[in-house]
Symmetry: C2
Subunit: 99 residues, 2 copies
Amino acid sequence: MGERGDWAAMRERRMAEPGAAEAYDAARLAFELGRAVRELRERRGWSQAQLAKESRMTQSAVARFEAGGTVPTLPVLERLAASLNVSLSVRFEPRDAAA
Amino acid sequence: MGERGDWAAMRERRMAEPGAAEAYDAARLAFELGRAVRELRERRGWSQAQLAKESRMTQSAVARFEAGGTVPTLPVLERLAASLNVSLSVRFEPRDAAA
DNA sequence: GGCCGTTATAGCATTGCTGCTATGACATGG
DNA sequence: CCATGTCATAGCAGCAATGCTATAACGGCC
């Protein structure tokens, strides 16, 4: 039933769910955050395993996250941000405001 | 010692956990996001029930969220943002950068 | 008093993210 | 070829957030 594996397919499906504009947004957000973390990590020359250790998680969790396999939770994002020495910003902004 | 209810106490406990700086951050983030949503909602003159309906959740979920009872997930934040006609911003920023 | 609208909480089922181990694929260097 | 390092993925246990109903507590208002 669940097709619990295959993150890419899972994400595709999530993005394709009818009338799930916000679910789509969440999936895209997950994807972009994954990419951002990968960039920050590679800029530091760290392996996934190193980042995982710093963030108190496992290499597989980092890989899953970077691939956008799941929509991350705020605690995880906080841990990653702390390890990468950046700050996590989560807030609501006016729709027209530039980033 | 379950005390599964009583969100305030739960949050206090989470923030007091030894060596859980990021968990603390997540709890504080939850609290601030809850306040932000409450402000946006009241500015529109909406009841929790109205916002809940727009965001496809129940009034109790909105109340729990506004009280900072749990650390919200990104899909929920996206739905609330969409209903309140604001955009959700989640990103990593340099530590010293001003908001 | 009763009635209604709103918010706060309780208690539970479901969902789905995380944590983990193990393993596969793929390079690179010996 | 073999060893090592890195990243990707499967599969599952555990658990926290969500989704839900029902209800209590606090108003106003008639």
